[in-house]
């Protein structure tokens, strides 16, 4: 997929890649934690959520900032070290934020958005918009796929 990054990451995030990753990680979860003890439901929910996000990030590929941030976060929770090739010099947004005090309302809203989008703390505003657009696309795709899964798996 590294050769396909352009065709994949431009517009529509792929459902099937996400679904494949997600199902694999779900089954992976199953094999890792075969015990069905009910006190672990919260842990299980968290793990399923994390699996969903990680597979979404993997389906999006490693070129998006939010997917990199998600994978990095997941890897840090798993105590692994992830190294992505850094293509751009990272601009710390805090240094830029002091320069932009013209539209405080918009900047406040952008800060809230920055908290929502993974890895948004490092982005400047225009980059944040771009990443948010792709993130929203991927999130809606994820919600659709998970809805399909739940509908297919839930007892009729």
């Amino acid at each position: 997929m590294a050769s396909q990054d352009k065709s994949i990451n431009t517009d529509v995030p792929e459902k099937d890649v996400f679904a494949l990753h997600f199902l694999q990680s779900l089954s992976n979860l199953k094999t890792q934690n075969p015990s069905n003890s009910p006190d672990k439901t919260n842990d299980r929910v968290k793990k399923i959520k994390m699996a969903a996000y990680v597979s979404m990030a993997r389906a999006a590929g490693g070129r998006r900032l939010w997917s990199r941030a998600l994978l990095r976060r997941a890897a840090s929770e798993n105590n692994k070290i992830v190294r992505f090739p850094r293509r751009k010099r990272r601009v710390t947004w805090l240094s830029r934020r002091r320069c932009n005090r013209r539209a405080p309302v918009e900047e406040k809203a952008a800060d809230r958005l920055r908290d929502l989008v993974p890895g948004g703390g490092e982005m400047e505003t225009s980059k944040l918009m771009k990443e948010t657009a792709h993130y929203i696309k991927c999130l809606s795709m994820q919600v659709k796929v998970m809805q399909c899964l739940v509908d297919g798996l839930s007892p009729k």
């Binding site: 494949l20 199953k30 299980r44 070290i81 998970m146």
Partner: protein, 373 residues
Amino acid sequence: MDLTGGFGARSGGGGPCREATGLESLHIGDEFRQLVTTLPPENAGSFTALLELPPTQAVELLHFTDTSSSQPAVTGIGGDIAPPLHSFGTLTFPSNPVLMERAARFSVIATEQQNGNVSGETTTSSSANLDRVKTEPAETESSQRLTSDQAVENQSPCPSQNNRSGKRKEFEKKVKSSTKKNKSSEENEKLPYVHVRARRGQATDSHSLAERARREKINARMKLLQELVPGCDKIQGTALVLDEIINHVQSLQRQVEMLSMRLAAVNPRIDFNLDTILASENGSLMDGSFNGTAMQLAWPHQVIETEQSYHHRQLQPPPPQPQQWPFDGLNQPAWGREEDQDHGNDHNNLMAVSENLMAGSANLHPNQVKMEL
């Protein structure tokens, strides 16, 4: 007010304060004298005499609004003064002070008709001077200094009535100078263009340009986002649109959480059905894309196909057919290699585990898997 300080320093008059407007105007009168040293001396005498009117008289002169009586006479005068209006090479300077006074009156009235307030007058007069400088590049350096001085003064605010009368007097002087240079009031019709140009000139430094480019970029991407979020097209205002986007993202994330909770709730059935779903999923994937090297070409078709399969599964869940497991010895290493290329080292473990799982489930009998789970 370092602006006035700069003015004093540049005019070399020992720094006259803003309160002493009379002195200032006298000073500018001196400048005018310097400016018109090339002119015949009786001209200079007449207009400096007009310049040194008391402020009250100047204000009276400015507030003379009887246009119907003055205008035809002035047009006659304009015809008298400047038959070749734009030929600056043949400058003819009228020596009649009454004539010049009338011309000044007319131009003042014209500018007052154009824009009523004092600030408008001053800006138009300054831009008139700029225009004069622009169209007469062969003027002396002192005149340019004069216009810059006047521009500086016009930028500074006028706090009191005294200042305003002083400003009016200066303005009258400038009008005098423009009539002196055979510029009639028709020059003032170029003023909006000059004014817009000045405003654009203020924003052409690199910081403003960069800021404007950044804002445009943000706005374009905001529009893109607005198309993505449903019901966001009609909202005006960046902050509201951002709020809507934030709400949308939050709702999506909440939906994901809820769905994962439901997935965890259907825990035993996941284990039951997972193999079948994996089988159907991988079957469609294998058939569509992972067969050969034409993966990229077959991609859109692949997406459509899987979407159809999703709908199909949503309508009726597929029957368990784990015997159709599409993994074989040939496909699996290729798959692993591809995944390694894609996602780097961190996914090696996960992918290895999932491969093991797949291989195991492929080798195991489905009933055994069910029993085990």
